[in-house]
Symmetry: C2
Subunit: 459 residues, 2 copies
């Protein structure tokens, strides 16, 4: 039995998929039953490393979808449009879709899932998150017995590469980014990666699967690494932490969710301090990892290459195989496997996270005066925030601050070092976010605190 495959796009991922289909030996025998029938490309005249018969190629993606020989449509062209419309067209034609397009799924996943459910076809998205790492299928099929408490991950390889080098070399963000662009690890326009948007797309998808309901992409609090100071990476290291861009979806509350009620989720993307022994802390370079915490499974982690032609093609082919395999169960008249179809079964509600609990890293610029640590400590204490460590790093020169920031204090030790400043780093114990914010507001009002220079969540 041959199954006809149509490809929309023949970039690096599309070419990787075509290469697997063209060399089935040594792979699962089902790969040999997949046959590439039609491929939509932008430019027919372009020479390509992989030789494909000229009659397979077309510049019309619609022609691929409408070709009766194409039974599964694989969308690897990227971008929002025409990708979204083409996916919907394939669904309307009753053809299952495999896509690596995280941007479309994060924004139009609900519309696409509804169309797929109505038409009774699968839309599989293993390649949309985590490159070659099997994470979508395990979330849908292997962890269904669990109540998921948290999904957190390093799911953007570009930023992890930059952060790894900042940590290893003590280099500044801008320098590493420029180098990463030169090496091809970062795009010419790096905004979607470094500002956290790509990771937000992916955590929206993971949360939707983990919690069984669509997560509004626009509501995800997102902060990138583009304003991260190398100083914080270095101080974190001295205190036993690494800084990673972590995307998290966490359920607030515990126990069984109330039936019929929306499940409250705190979903966010930002630079985060991880203790060096944390499972995600050892994820270096362009690798990705996703940590899933559930009851009763505990912590499981999925690790591997988060991008690249080969790994992403591996994930796309996994989805194609899944559709081909299940087709042998019941033919075209069959129902959908509810695990594979991943329909949503409840409402998710994004909440502001002020009741979430975590540790915090704060870097303060203060005047180098006796008693300042005590006053800072008192502000935390008054808000019920207990402190794990408070460290004064070497007095430092002002960076980007006017001299006006430094005032008064002419009668004590500081007076003998006019303009001297201290840098104080506080790591709190795990506290409720709202209490921490309250303490921070009080600290900002202290006369000898000139600036809250950095504030990072800490797992």
């Amino acid at each position: 039995m041959t199954i006809g495959i149509g490809l929309l796009g023949l970039g690096t991922v599309g070419a990787g998929v075509a290469a697997i289909l063209a060399s089935p030996e040594g792979r699962h025998p089902l790969v040999a039953e997949l046959e590439l029938k039609r491929v939509a490309v932008r430019d027919l005249s372009r020479t390509r490393p992989l030789q494909l018969a000229a009659e397979l190629l077309t510049t019309s993606p619609e022609a691929v979808i409408d070709d009766p020989a194409v039974e599964i449509v694989v969308e690897v062209m990227g971008g929002l449009e025409p990708a979204r419309s083409l996916i919907l067209r394939a669904i309307a034609a009753g053809k299952p879709v495999v896509t690596a397009n995280k941007a479309v799924i994060a924004r139009y996943g609900e519309e696409i899932a509804a169309a797929a459910a109505a038409r009774g076809v699968y839309v599989l998205i293993e390649a949309a998150v985590g490159g070659g790492i099997p994470i979508i299928e395990p979330l849908k099929q292997s962890l269904g017995g669990n109540r998921i408490q948290r999904v957190s991950g390093i799911i953007n390889g570009t930023t992890n590469y930059i952060l790894s080098r900042m940590a290893d070399e003590g280099a500044a963000y801008a320098d590493v980014l420029a180098d990463a662009q030169r090496l091809g690890y970062a795009e010419a326009d790096p905004a979607a990666d470094v500002q956290g948007g790509d990771a937000a797309d992916k955590i929206a998808i993971l949360a939707g699967l983990a919690y069984g309901g669509p997560v509004p992409r626009a509501g995800i609090a997102t902060e990138g690494i583009d304003r991260l100071d190398a100083r914080d990476v270095a101080y974190a290291a001295q205190l036993g932490f690494v800084v990673k861009l972590v995307a998290t979806a966490e359920r607030l509350g515990s126990g069984a969710p109330a039936p019929g009620e929306p499940i409250p989720l705190d979903v966010r993307v930002h630079p985060t301090l991880l203790p060096k022994q944390h499972p995600l802390a050892g994820v270096h370079g362009v690798n990705n990892a996703i940590l899933v915490e559930g009851d009763p499974v505990g912590q499981v982690m999925f690790y591997g290459p988060g991008a690249g032609a080969g790994p992403t093609a591996s994930a796309v082919v996994a989805d194609i195989l899944n559709i081909a395999g299940i087709r042998q169960v019941g033919g075209s008249e069959a129902g959908l496997d509810p695990l594979l179809a991943a329909s949503s079964w409840r409402q998710c509600e994004l909440v502001d996270g002020s009741t979430s609990r975590h540790r915090n890293y704060v870097r303060l610029h203060t005047r180098d005066e006796a008693g300042v640590i005590g006053r800072i400590g008192s502000c935390f204490g008054a808000a019920g925030v207990s402190i794990q460590s408070i460290v004064q790093f070497e007095a430092r020169e002002a960076e980007g601050e006017t001299e006006a920031d430094v005032e008064g204090g002419a009668t004590d030790r500081a007076a003998t070092r006019a303009g001297a400043k201290a840098e104080i780093v506080v790591i709190t114990h795990e506290v409720q976010e709202s209490h921490f914010r309250q303490a921070l507001a009080a600290i900002e009002n202290l006369s000898d605190v000139t600036k809250v220079a950095a504030c990072l969540r800490t797992l």
Copy 2:
């Protein structure tokens, strides 16, 4: 639609499964459709933490299998018999089976798979390897597009716990084992764990799935941690390595396997040195991790709790859900999904591994004589084995050796320190196993080498 579940065994895993089925809220909605119909226990009168209706319990596993209300049979009793016979009985009755029984699957997997294929039912085994870690399903369903080069893992939690403590505390094997037994991390009879048999069971299963053909369990070279010297753990740490009990299945040769030919595999279990930055090196305590290397995916790793009631129950319920989900596709007359059924499609052949390539750690006892390092180095050089490092550790007292081991050498520096010995540790570069063996044989014949005290493979 309710699906009737029959449990064979109500130990910690069985009770964990029953607890999930009894509290479906917040889990995948399919869990609510699973209903526990019959449970086989050893002793009806025993009090249990989980209250089950008395009419569910029976002492007859056959009665569970034969109960018409039972549609899926879950075997969590463990042991070889009667587990094997009961699994076969369920298959013969046309009922799909979920089992956590690695010992049965490693030994009788071929017989069971053949019976299941003939009868057209699934036998799913997610819980048999890696506890709660989704690894069986990803291998079967998500990595099918790959040519698998190597599967390696830390898949025995007891030994990893012992090794982690030996490394952290510098403690001796026997002391940590005794403590682990007291804490319940090791069995009263620890043989299956510490001698590597449990890990060999599991790697046989993983290799069978990764390479698509049964792997003869009895042919797996197996060495445990029970003769591991704390000294080697400590020296390895000084040289930048950790010692782990690693189970490996590696394909010899590269590229596409020759069609119709058996695929040559080197499958083994033994203490192994891992560089500290290796993905498996950070797996501590009772956790497990499995690293899969394939083309084109690269390296992907699956990490989590390798044992325990909750994690193992999570894996069992995953399998039950898979069967329940696919049942909705095509009813009872449907065919099998070839990915989920995991039929074998080729022959695997265990080879002796003399052509495999890896690094090696060797600890030698030598006389403390000038020139001994040169002579050892020459033996390696003559066999074409290049050395990464050769380090002489402090001269040490004999441990368990008779004085007769120390002879001659009365004319030079050593003569002034009669009985003094040196301990030399060599780490080779990656070499072919046969060349390394040849060098080692020559070294054993050197008159100033008194003993090859330890020899460990190194990744």
